[in-house]
Homo-oligomer: 437 residues x 4
């Protein structure tokens, strides 16, 4: 419920194992290119670096005694390769080089999913914004009806936030996923003069960036990733919350394509998709905090903080992947109940148009008097069970200033939308520009 | 202890009040330029938008009943201005427009401090990296002595992480600080056709970016800021932790310029500066999580989540400002005890050179045999109270392969630094490039 | 907005200062009783331990260099007392003894407020539960209308959670607030053989518990307090959230006694009180996490973790005090719109009674057939714009089994309340029992 | 690495499934006893409530569409039972009743492990405290050597914190693990008059407490559990941190029974066990915060918050179980290097005895003069490379007051332990009392 099959697969024990083996193979290849080890050795190592040749459970078990899975992995890989290759396995590298670089590979694979889903969700927001450009609905602040807006304008807001979150994640993916290679002390001592050349070749092999210096205890990459995932989760959580609120029985403006049913309660249309997105999003801030808390890492390798990153990173990736995929599905199938949006606009007997109605009266009556007059008529409408429009039409002071048509116009929600259409255009234009990049 | 005088001032109640008034003045100016209100009115409003004309305590008290300080502020401002200006105060804006834009102004002011301090701290790291390019010391992993490195190489790592954190904060400052203007429902309805024009002029007045659409419930800007501040805090916390560890009585490699004393315990050199940085950094992740948790905001204005951002944002700014200023001061005055670094290198009787010693033996003996041999000699050195070098020199199998000079070289920490000098160069070059931007 | 005047006062710099001075005075008194120092000296010290004799700002400033306010405080106190008393000020104690014990005193003072407000809020819940024992309303799950309940039953739930949170806080207050006295290393070495006797007398002086051993780096007391405050905040946040949801324009079942107004939007009844409670509650989990994160403290005094407790503890106390006081006020003035509760019950055309209607049909038709039949009639009611009751009355298969009166009874919300009244009784009984303790 | 086999098993998908089935079986049994359903039906249901008869993966897959696994589970269980039993499966219950009660059963099973491991760890602390009652070592504050203490006194501190954390967890287990039974709206409507009787019988069946009212949206039980687990994790994290610090190459006072090795670095004795405990403990506060954040749950069932509890609760249990088991193992095998403790006491040339040395001089010289004199001699000892004792013996002013034997005694760490032995006795006595309860 809190991942997707694809994200689970790309963060599975097997995926981590393969990513670590990809590091080992690429390291050997880089060292071969740098002339540190023979090319055949690198080929032999690469040939064995396939997860299916290893026993992940056994590696996990043996990991406990050294607080790292790498010692067991290297032992098993060394056992697998030819005698000639044995001395060259994992050469010059340390545990953390393997795990950190593997993490970058796993992150890259999951970010591809997340970004694709965020983009598809944004495309759906763009479609909805366009489609509901003229669908007038009530805006609500502090959960109270406020003024008219359009559902398209709401979707434009969702769209912009999705685009911003995607941009931030894309930047992390493009700029901050780098190989880690430092050896036991961050100096690459056992590679002699070839350390930097090997790092460069390794980065090229894996398609990752080359860092300025090894980042074993510089966790800014993890922190920036966590921040961008946290931001994305917040954006997705906001959309889900809006859908849940709009789907309330008493509001009824939106419902999910496949609303969850209940045998005992046939009228229920549970926003099950949104609920799972909310649940996933709720869990993200705690994980981001955990990763940030783990940043102060001792000397050249941390005693605990680094190790505490591993599982939270996986979870964070899964949760955001689930939330992004869920939102994509939610938006693709969203039912928009425009008639109910229209009906809800009338719920206050037109009182939501008070600001609009006061506007044209101000020039003549002055701001304060205009507002006071409209407020009084609002109270009358409530007490008498009429509408603000009716009260305005019946009030002599108003009618000295405004014609019937003017009163009607001033109390027509569709005529009081300000820049809502322009905001939709701007959001769509920004989205199109992002797509074209 | 957990802020700086400058950061406290720039986030004080008075600073927030002035920032809100700056919004009101700029809004009026923008509306005057857009022809929505008379120019004299804008001037009159600007004239009154000075914090010292207002009673901050009274505004705070009255804020409780509406859960916002803006209603009271606007009332007091309206009372202050000429009769002609009264109807035009705060025109078209809503509470959140004022608070969110003011927050951006406050953030900008504090980020200026933080970035300046981070840069100065980075400059000091660069100086230390250069200066201690050849200061050999032991690298430690999991708090155990590992292999030689240089203190310059450690400083290069600190430098790079500071530069990365500064870059991320700079990007937020340059790209993500934007005006918020949406009116009560995010449509700018009461500004009619002029909404977007006024927003554009307002942004220009305040020197903030113009957002695609109002961001009242799109909290990505706050989240990205929080993420960047959290990243910076983690970097600063790592440096402080390293200083504390190096300053341990038993390690004694670093001490603070003004180490905290104790009358009863005259030998203590408390790393008081580092301790306060650590304490500040420890508090940041929880605040970042709070801000991320607050991202899902209902409809067009949140009932609680938005309001929960205010104080944590201020605290976050203060804590990171304190940690940045503290680190700057810490690094500027840092005492580096190179003789103690040298002494600690010998603590293991040369065992930290085992990897180095095994290297030149491998070609002849093979990797495994070389490692086994060196391990055996390490055990001897421990048991006999000699050194690894002595054991190597005395071992016939070793001496078949290596001359005395070769043994000495292979057990000389200064000769086993790998890419440490190159990493320093790279970090310095990247830093110089950043400075030149 | 995020504290109360009383909580602010009891956690102010002056209150902390006085609490630290109370420790010093009580320490001297305890030592006098133990015969360690002369009685007149203790009296002299006590005479000077009044916050108004000290310059809190100056102490705060000087605190930075040693990362503790205590050194400056002790210096100033020593300067104030007679020459005879000078050597006996702060005797045998260390910084942490002062700060930790003072924290307990501050906590005790604020918990008194919090617990009183929680109890008053619970009393109001009890009153509402009793009063609305028969006020039928719809229960909602996943924000969808579900089945009937009573507002009294909802209040019984609030009541029980308040009572549970209060019990947990009361237990911390009664059992876990203890003096801290260990001296610089936790051994009370400079007190010779009198250490434990002095601790015991100190505890008696201050009315705090005597710990088994000094708790300088055993932070379970702080953690348990944080957990209990976090629990209370969650309970208060739930009540506030319910009020906000019930107060939605479209729901309209509850409103605040002094709902926040809006000049431009006269129809709004902003749940401003609930919003501030929600905002306070949102900030609590991050602070609890910070305090828990700070638990691993090095050796006999932490380098950063301990210092990171101070401000979050104060904030936590203020936020929970504000939320408790706000809830008390909210519940005291809560408007219950029973007519709107009744109206909302009809919103689904009786579909919320489907489970109830299927019940009496099951004996004859079997469970599955009964449910299927009712589901079909629900769909008809929706399609035809009738009600479930009308459909049941018109259906021949139903009428073979049920009389008109039976159909009416089975679709009467007030007749399908199960154990709701009994739950109210139980909650009231448990509350009464708690009061009597 | 971050769980134990037993904790993984007791929180596995299969364990959760069985716990949910245990609820269903017990519900049927309770209803049979209450006369609501036939006894044979309850027996038939119980017979089928075995996890191995169900396909957990399929249930998990189908869970997504309704955001709960219970609908699929009940469907499969209904399919399994006899026709007569089908209508009585899950009768009167709702999804949340199943999941919440199952959670309590899972929690109970894991708490049994955790509490047993905490007790065993405490027993080991008690053993070490007793054994090292006279093992003098240096106490350290802010990572600086401070004054002498004993390793036994340190262990007494660990012991007390473990006992306190265990007490808190035991209280949650004994008082707060309760059945949840409320039906779809928390009223048990479909059970008619039998709701409370069934709840009571259900609680008896499962050996859980009977709550005052259903606690579907009163999450105090979860919050208190989270708080107690968070407290325990903090205590365990402190012990692990101390072990890591003591195990530093430069300190060398403790090492793990099975310290992690490194082939390349044969001298390393990685504190691998402590590192994993630290890593687990680091992750706990974020999870506690997530659970506290989830407390405000809407109306009668939450849309997201409740669902966000499930996995964090499981993780929290696993992490604390791993940390408790790891600590038990760590303490059982801990190597205490008493000779190194003694050696480290001399590291400051006796300066750690300054407070002790000043004591006997005060009566004659006065406090200030005595401290100044000792401070001066400390500086001499450092400058001259002698010891404080030597300087004291050589100083005429000192020797006017103190004999050689008195100087020696005043600079003997073992003679300056204050209440350390008494604290050990108190901790052991409190522990024994706890055991006897």
């Amino acid at each position: 419920m809190f991942s997707t099959p694809a994200a689970t697969e790309r963060t599975s024990a097997a995926a981590w194992l393969q990513a670590m083996l990809d590091f080992e193979a690429a390291l050997a290849a880089a060292q071969a290119k740098a002339g540190v080890i023979p090319a055949e050795v690198a080929e032999e190592i690469a040939r064995r670096c396939r997860a299916e040749l290893f026993d992940a459970d056994s590696i996990a078990e043996r990991a406990v005694s050294s607080a790292t899975p790498v010692i067991a992995l290297v032992r098993d890989l060394t056992a697998l390769v030819d005698a000639d290759a044995k001395p060259h396995v994992h050469r010059g590298a340390t545990t953390q080089d393997v795990v950190d670089t593997a993490a970058m590979l796993v992150v890259r694979d999951v970010l591809a999913l997340v970004i694709a889903d965020l983009r598809a969700a944004a495309d759906d927001c763009a479609r909805l914004a366009e489609q509901h450009r003229g669908t007038v609905m009530i805006a609500r602040t502090l959960l109270q009806q406020a003024l008219p807006t359009t559902f398209g304008c709401r979707c434009a807001g969702w769209l912009t936030s999705l685009d911003e979150a995607t941009t931030a994640l894309g930047r992390v993916r493009d700029e901050r996923l780098a190989v880690q290679l430092g050896g036991p002390a961050g100096t690459l001592a056992s590679l002699g003069a070839e350390g930097i050349r090997v790092t460069e070749l390794l980065a090229a092999e894996l398609g990752l960036a080359e860092p300025v210096v090894p980042w074993h205890t510089d966790r800014t990459r993890i922190a920036e990733l966590a921040g961008a995932l946290g931001t994305a989760a917040g954006v997705l959580g906001k959309i889900a919350l809006d859908v849940e609120l709009h789907a309330q029985t008493e509001v009824g403006e939106l419902s999910e394509g496949k609303a969850g049913g209940s045998s005992a309660l046939p009228h229920k249309r549970n926003p099950a998709g949104a609920v799972l997105i909310s649940a996933a999003a709720n869990r993200v801030p705690g994980l981001v905090a955990t990763l940030l808390s783990a940043m102060p890492q001792e000397y050249e390798r941390a005693a605990g903080a680094w190790q505490s990153e591993w599982e939270p990173l996986t979870e964070l990736l899964r949760l955001v992947a689930a939330a992004a995929a869920g939102t994509r599905q939610l938006l693709a199938g969203l039912h928009v109940h425009t008639e109910q949006m229209a009906a809800n606009l009338d719920l206050t007997r037109g009182l939501v148009m008070a600001e609009s109605a006061a506007g044209p009266l101000m020039n003549t009556l002055g701001r304060t008097d205009a507002q006071d007059l409209v407020s009084r008529l609002c109270r009358s409408a409530v007490q008498e069970g009429t509408t603000l429009r009716a009260e305005l039409l019946a009030d002599p002071r108003v009618r000295e200033v405004l014609s019937e048509a003017e009163v009607v116009a001033a109390t027509e929600p569709a005529d009081y939308l300000g820049s809502a259409p322009a905001f939709i255009d701007r959001a769509l234009a920004a989205h199109a520009e992002l797509e074209n990049r």
